[in-house]
């Protein structure tokens, strides 16, 4: 039997990034994936005969440049030019759409000239402030107990960056840091379509409405991501998200990583406080010096390790991570491309957002607090087959949408609720793209409950834990253990549940691998 230095549990993109990085540093690495293919929630899958779609994540906007560099992903076919940047489109039921072009609205069209200049100022400010947070949202969180020289220097750089803002700007940065996005938008903008779009972006993927305190952080998180060197830029990868994972997989395999799919890990083997390997569902036992878990942190400790091998306080913390998702994913197979009102050909290829105002987003959020779905949901829509015809049969079209709010624990249960929610979504789509209903060949709606089952994401939460102030940075996944190492020697966390969080960034995987290498694990 071949022996491995490191076993990575979970072949999602973070697991593959961690594996590839470790392999490049000379480790013999084995990746174990429970599903039939790698990629986790970042795959391209066929959902109707001839129709393929990016399964959960459908837009790339935060793949970390260090991941691209370390894994040499450009040589594996992952390259993005400025021309690939996708506009964001705030759809309106009547009249032309408002569009943010380039990297998160370098140019704004469809708004008044005074709004354009107000947006220019706000965008510059948001990017400036996101830039301050950026190192925090990419590096390993500072280790409060024993900070290394490097970490101290890193914090010093941030302090310097803050100082460089100037007194007024620094004060404003601190003032708005934990604000809600709606209040900030009201201070600076007029156009409710633009405000609706930004309110949607700030709350996408979290259990927050635009008026919930700290909701602005979500927008910073988005803008801390970059594509092709441009902050806030987004692209639709050719071939779907599966193509991104294929490039990462190719890099991993080239570095010598062995990958086994359809292999479910039953438990992590622990001896005297050390993780020494894993036992598979089949009964097979594998041993390694280092075990890297790139799956959900709570699943890792409560199910695979088990409470018996860890301390009560740690179990408590793991059990209290909030991770009930509110986002559903809709896939439509259409016999022809839909026509969204007010959207020209360029807009149709962009990211189409139905969030007509901050009030609308807030109202969509309200019922979800009480276990009910939004009767008028907000949506982020892409039509990936327009730019990549290989995803749909000739003349047909794929629609991929993230839909909020769909509470994981729906009071009436998703068996009864799902058809009703689909109806509500279709009504909303019909209002913005008249006639779309008649063109539907097949509809697949994945509720958080479906996402949980299919992609092994507890709560169906794509961040593997709410990404809010109390579950970020040094408190992610739990306080005291934010640095990828764990109370068990030889066991590391490398998934989205760890800092900085979810989205196709590869940052948790990369940081975890770097930590393991630094610890000579």
């Amino acid at each position: 039997m071949t022996s491995f230095d490191a076993i990575v549990i979970g072949g999602g993109h973070n697991g593959l990034v961690a594996a590839a990085t470790l392999a490049k540093a000379g480790r013999k690495v084995l990746v174990l994936e429970a599903g039939s293919e790698v990629g986790g929630a970042a795959r391209t899958e066929e959902f109707a005969s001839g129709f393929r779609v990016s399964s959960i994540a459908h837009l790339l906007n935060r793949l970390h440049p260090d991941v691209v560099k370390t894994l040499e992903l450009e040589t594996h076919g992952l390259q993005f030019a400025r021309a690939d940047f996708l506009p964001s489109v705030a759809l309106a039921m009547d009249g032309p759409a408002l569009m943010l072009h380039g990297a998160y609205g370098e140019v704004l069209t469809g708004a008044s000239s005074s709004e354009q200049s107000a947006w220019k100022d706000l965008r510059a400010q948001l990017l400036r402030y996101a830039g301050i947070l950026k190192p925090f949202l990419s590096r390993r969180p500072p280790d409060l107990a024993g900070m290394s020289l490097m970490e101290t220097a890193g914090l010093g750089q941030t302090a310097l960056a803050l100082k460089k803002l100037g007194k007024e700007d620094m004060r404003d940065f601190l003032r708005v840091l934990l604000m809600n996005v709606a209040d900030l938008l009201d201070e600076q903008l007029e156009d409710i379509r633009l405000k609706g779009l930004l309110a949607f972006d700030a709350t996408l993927g979290s259990h927050l409405g635009p008026r919930s305190p700290t909701s602005l952080l979500g927008l910073y998180y988005r803008l801390a991501g970059e594509t092709g060197g441009a902050a806030g830029a987004q692209v639709l990868p050719q071939g779907g998200m599966g193509a991104v994972v294929a490039a990462i997989r190719a890099a991993a395999e080239k570095a010598g990583v062995a990958i086994r799919t359809s292999v479910a890990v039953a438990r992590i083997t622990v001896e005297k406080g050390h993780a020494v390997g894993v036992a598979l569902d089949s009964g097979e036992e594998l041993r390694a010096r280092t075990v890297v878990s790139a799956i959900n942190p709570a699943t890792t400790f409560l199910d695979l390790v088990g409470p018996r091998e860890i301390d009560t306080g740690f179990v408590r913390k793991m059990k209290s991570i909030r991770m009930k998702g509110d986002a559903a994913k809709l896939h439509l197979a259409l016999d022809r491309p839909p026509q969204f009102t007010g959207a020209d050909a360029a807009a149709q290829k962009g990211r189409l957002v139905i969030a007509p105002s901050p009030d609308h987003v807030e109202r969509a959020f309200n019922p979800c607090k009480y276990g009910e779905f939004s009767p008028e949901p907000v949506l982020e829509i892409t039509l990936p087959s327009l730019a990549d015809p290989s995803l749909a049969p000739d003349g047909a079209c794929v629609l991929s949408a993230v839909v909020q709010y769909a509470p994981y624990a729906l009071k009436e249960g998703w068996v009864a609720g799902k058809p009703k929610f689909l109806e509500a979504i279709m009504a909303q789509l019909e209002a913005y793209a008249p006639g779309i209903g008649k063109s539907v060949v097949h509809a697949e709606l994945l509720t958080p409950a479906d996402i949980e089952m299919r992609y092994r994401m507890p709560g169906g939460h794509w961040h593997h834990g709410e990404l809010q102030a109390d579950q970020m940075l040094i408190s992610r996944p739990v306080s005291g253990w934010s640095g990828y190492d764990t109370p068990l020697e030889g066991l590391f966390l490398a998934g989205a549940g760890s800092h900085p969080g979810g989205g196709v960034s590869g940052a948790p995987g990369l940081n975890a691998a770097r930590r393991i290498i630094a610890m000579k694990g």
Partner: protein, 419 residues
């Protein structure tokens, strides 16, 4: 009219609901609960010197502190331990659960045995110490100073075990002193002579059964008895009647506290601050810092705090040590500061007394390492003796000595002698 009547009845129902709610909240009207033995204690309480033990009415003394102490050492003393927090822990995983929660190896604790143990949080800081009774292969009783139900319940995640507080349901008595065995035998508890130290067994009493263990907090020959609360008084009366000619006396905590100090035993939140009570970060203590290092078994299965405790040992992060002191002279050094070379503060005495049994001036103290650990020479305590409204400052030499301060053969002799 009909409307008015209906209104009235609605108001009446609301009133009834409110008074029912108020009645259910009346706990605050009794500031200190009585124990199941309260009628007997009240009848004997000549000094009316009460204190609050975990929310219960408990006597500091009943008639005379001094004589109550000597009842422990030369007769039989009856002490009500009902306020002690008691948990029933039962189920197929009870052993594994307790092995994970507590420091000592529970797999080595046989049914019918008791051991003294402690438990820690994730950082290895002591949450409490207490005694663990193995009542059957799958049933335990954990007795402690503080309450721990939320901690125990969260610790039970992943274990097939029931954790239930039984403090109110179970009454407890400590019967301690040289004649305690004879009292039990004369009271008709046949077979009690077979109990060795830390054994427990069940004995019939008043249509139910009483659990008698050969345990105690005095360093003397003695037993602890647990009985359902509604049989508490008949048990008390049975012991008192049988012990009349053996000098049985009810006692309060002051006397017991002296006996426990002679036995070198520590009290949570007196000799160390428990982790959940400590407000200041430097008051937290790991087992090695309060003399409980012997409980740590790195070879047993995982237990709470293991990683932190072993790391603290490996990285030499143990900052304190708990020691027994013998102090020259005969003035008790209660809460005195401990000095090295008479000028450098190195610790504090947490309990002290002139020991009538040891004929020594003894104390328990916490010192900052290396003092008390590798540096044990030239230690002093500063005693402030109040003499007619004036402090007399005494600097007395202190010597680190082994605990217990007294060792009584009768404590362990089986069968016990018939005093």
């Amino acid at each position: 009219m009909a409307q008015a009547t209906r209104k009235k009845s609605v108001a009446k129902t609301a009133d009834a609901a409110v008074s029912a709610r108020i009645a259910a909240q009346s706990h605050f009207r009794t500031l200190r609960l009585g124990t199941p033995f309260q009628p007997r204690l009240d009848a004997l309480a000549k000094t009316q010197d009460w204190y609050n033990w975990a929310g219960y009415h408990a006597p500091h003394s009943l008639w005379d502190e001094e004589l109550e102490y000597f009842a422990i050492r030369s007769q039989a003393a009856l002490f009500d331990i009902s306020p002690m927090t008691k948990y029933r822990i039962e189920g197929p995983d009870a052993e594994a659960f307790l092995d994970r929660v507590t420091l000592r190896d529970v797999t080595k604790l046989r049914p019918g045995r008791v051991h003294y143990t402690a438990w820690c949080d994730d950082e290895g800081f002591v949450l409490d110490d207490g005694t663990l009774f193995r009542l059957s292969p799958t049933r335990f009783r954990l007795c402690s100073q503080e309450r721990h139900l939320p901690w125990l319940l969260d610790s039970a995640i992943g274990f097939d075990v029931i954790v239930e507080e039984e403090t109110e349901a179970v009454a407890g008595l400590a019967l301690q002193g040289p004649t305690s065995f004879a009292v039990l035998r004369d009271a008709g508890f046949a077979g009690v002579e077979k109990l060795r130290v830390f054994d427990l067994a069940y004995f019939p009493h008043d249509d139910t059964s009483v659990t008698i263990s050969r345990t105690g907090f005095t360093g003397d020959l003695g037993y602890e008895l647990f009985v359902p609360a509604d049989r508490a008084l008949s048990l008390w009366d049975r012991l008192m009647a049988a012990g009349e000619l053996r000098g049985i006396r009810a006692i309060g905590y002051t006397a017991l506290n002296r006996a426990r100090l002679e036995a070198g035993l520590i009290v949570a939140n007196a000799d160390f601050t428990t982790a959940e009570h400590a407000i200041r970060a430097d008051r937290l203590r790991r087992p090695d810092e309060i003399g409980l290092g012997f409980m740590i078994d790195p070879r047993k299965a995982h237990f709470n705090g293991r990683r932190a405790i072993l790391e603290a040992r490996a990285k030499r992060r143990l900052r304190h040590v708990l020691v027994g002191l013998e102090i020259e002279g005969n003035i008790p050094a209660e809460h005195a500061i401990v000095y090295h070379r008479k000028h450098q503060e190195v610790g504090l005495v947490s309990a002290a007394m002139w020991s009538p049994m040891a004929k020594r001036n003894i104390a328990i103290a916490s010192l900052a390492r290396p003092y008390g650990d590798t540096v044990v020479e030239d230690l002093w305590v500063e005693i402030y003796a109040m003499r007619e409204l004036q402090y007399q400052k005494l600097m007395k030499r202190a010597t680190v000595v082994a605990r217990p301060f007294i060792k009584l053969d009768r404590r362990t002799a089986t069968p016990p002698a018939d005093f």
